[in-house]
Symmetry: C2
Subunit: 318 residues, 2 copies
């Protein structure tokens, strides 16, 4: 009999676990793709937790809830797989095909340096949240999200605009009950928010407000985002919706690279890692978005800072 | 947010885990079905570990190995799921469709009182074996197994006899390398073996030799299978193929119920459980097979005896 390693099969390697939660068309895939491209495909595995759908599209049509509802998803299996991935194990992840609405053959997900779990409900339960080193909630204003969702679903997914609007209305109560409460559990909340008074629209590179909650150790933004750079980025200590203190970073959507690049370099230097600042941060439809770049960078800070600590202690320290 | 239980989700319940290993058409499904019917569907969950196939039929056609090869299966995922089931957790099991050779949407497997894992490789690795309370290897003589496989695959699966014979030849080296060595790891080895000299054939209710290895606590067969019943069943202390001591129970395929029923009742009484001896043991194509009935009963003995011990200790004993 061939040698097989004992269970658990991996030799102690543990990935950094990152959650990106948000409603449909909030920008999760765009943010995930940027992180994958910045670090390199060989270092990142990403999974969409919407694949844990319990029903296919036909079955769902007969249910009294939408795909946003926890009862429409194998939440316990999602938790189980996130725990296994966090412990460095491989899982066989279910697959939901958005194209035809069918549940299909599962795929193997093997841990890499960074594991990104994005989707509708990654922060819904305490057990799921406990798997992550850093958590993000994408929080565009509803008006902006509707524009993004119509654009995507009429384009890539072949729906008519009226269908998308009806679906948005149908989902609204479950968005309010299950999706938006996850915002309270994120270490980082990102609001891409075009400023209409300045002629920005949902179609442009948006400005963004990035909230950094003191629930996780972030980059030292107080030292880096000073008055010298306030034309591009500024930092304010504010109270969040719930009254709790947060650092709020506002990034102007139109800030020129010569103003934002030094900030990116300072955050990178703060990490003190032995690799250069990725050159492709913030790319969005072929243009450079300073707000997307800074969001990605603040997340990469978590990834690279956690890299060492996410692994088990060396033998001699136990 | 609705209340969700913390991980692990179940409240300490642990199933009795039973493995039934053996080559293709060795009788695994028949034995499993009998146990499910004896205990009742609501008390048993069975899974076929051949569902952990890594490739569908088309992909497999291009590989240098058959479905018997561990590299053709997600062995680590099988181990992981068996461990989770043994700990009382639910898993999302992959599904291989024998009809069309496709991998399909996975199904939820929730633990019940008894969990039976049957298939080609459930005892292949130490990690998998460690999940079970009792392990069985079905070991019909090759000639008998060939007759059974041709009958099934030309009947239910639509192959021509020449195709089945060619496949048996193609699989033989991997049977020898990966399947048959699992026999050494079974607590119980069953050889259904028609005795040709007595006019039995592979088509008849077969006689059987049941080997009980001292690796697990079996029913007290020494006290029960005495000289009084030797016309139906007899017990011998022998050395197995590898020289190790085993109890060998021979059951005559043609033994009448009035001789075998008292043995079944004595084994059942030895268990001292508060439920009657199942009335439907040993049913095979509408006839009663004494050898199948005794095999099932010796397995049920493990299940019912382990029922209490498989659960975690009560709080006061910790």
């Amino acid at each position: 009999m061939a040698f097989r390693p004992a269970y658990p099969p991996q030799g102690g390697f543990r990935p950094v676990m990152l959650a990106i939660a948000g409603d449909s068309a909030a920008g999760k895939t765009t943010l995930t793709r940027g992180l994958v491209e910045a670090l390199g495909r060989e270092r990142v595995v990403s999974l969409c937790v919407d694949d844990y759908h319990r029903y296919d599209r036909t079955e769902r049509a007969e249910k009294p809830f939408t795909a946003l509802h926890p009862d429409c998803n194998y939440v316990e299996i999602m938790e189980q797989h996130l725990h296994l991935l966090a412990m460095g194990q491989t899982v066989l992840k279910p697959v939901y095909n958005h194209g035809n609405g069918m549940l299909e053959r599962p795929v193997l997900i093997e841990p890499r340096e960074l594991c990104i779990a994005e989707g509708l409900l990654p922060l819904y339960t305490k057990a799921a949240r406990s798997c992550f080193d850093a958590t993000v909630y994408l929080d565009p204003p509803e008006g902006v999200r509707r524009v993004w969702k119509i654009k995507r679903d009429t384009g890539k997914r072949g729906y008519a605009e009226e269908q998308v609007l009806a679906e948005l209305d149908r989902r609204e109560p479950e968005s309010a009950e299950f999706i938006r409460p996850q915002r309270a559990h994120a270490d980082i909340v990102v609001r891409f928010d075009p400023i209409e008074g300045r002629g920005e629209s949902a179609q442009h590179l948006p400005s963004a407000t990035i909230l950094l909650r003191p629930t996780a150790p972030h980059a030292d933004v107080v030292a880096i985002i000073t008055d010298d750079v306030k034309k591009a980025v500024h930092l304010k200590l504010i109270r969040d919706e719930d009254g709790k203190p947060v650092d709020a970073i506002h990034v102007h959507g139109y800030a020129p690279p010569e103003l934002t690049r030094p900030i990116e370099e300072a955050i990178w230097a703060d990490l003190d890692v032995d690799e250069p600042l990725p050159s492709n941060l913030g790319m969005l439809d072929g243009e450079h978005s300073p707000s997307l770049a800074l969001t990605q960078l603040l997340l990469l800070h978590h990834v690279l800072r956690n890299r060492g600590s996410a692994r088990p202690m060396p033998e001699e320290n136990k």
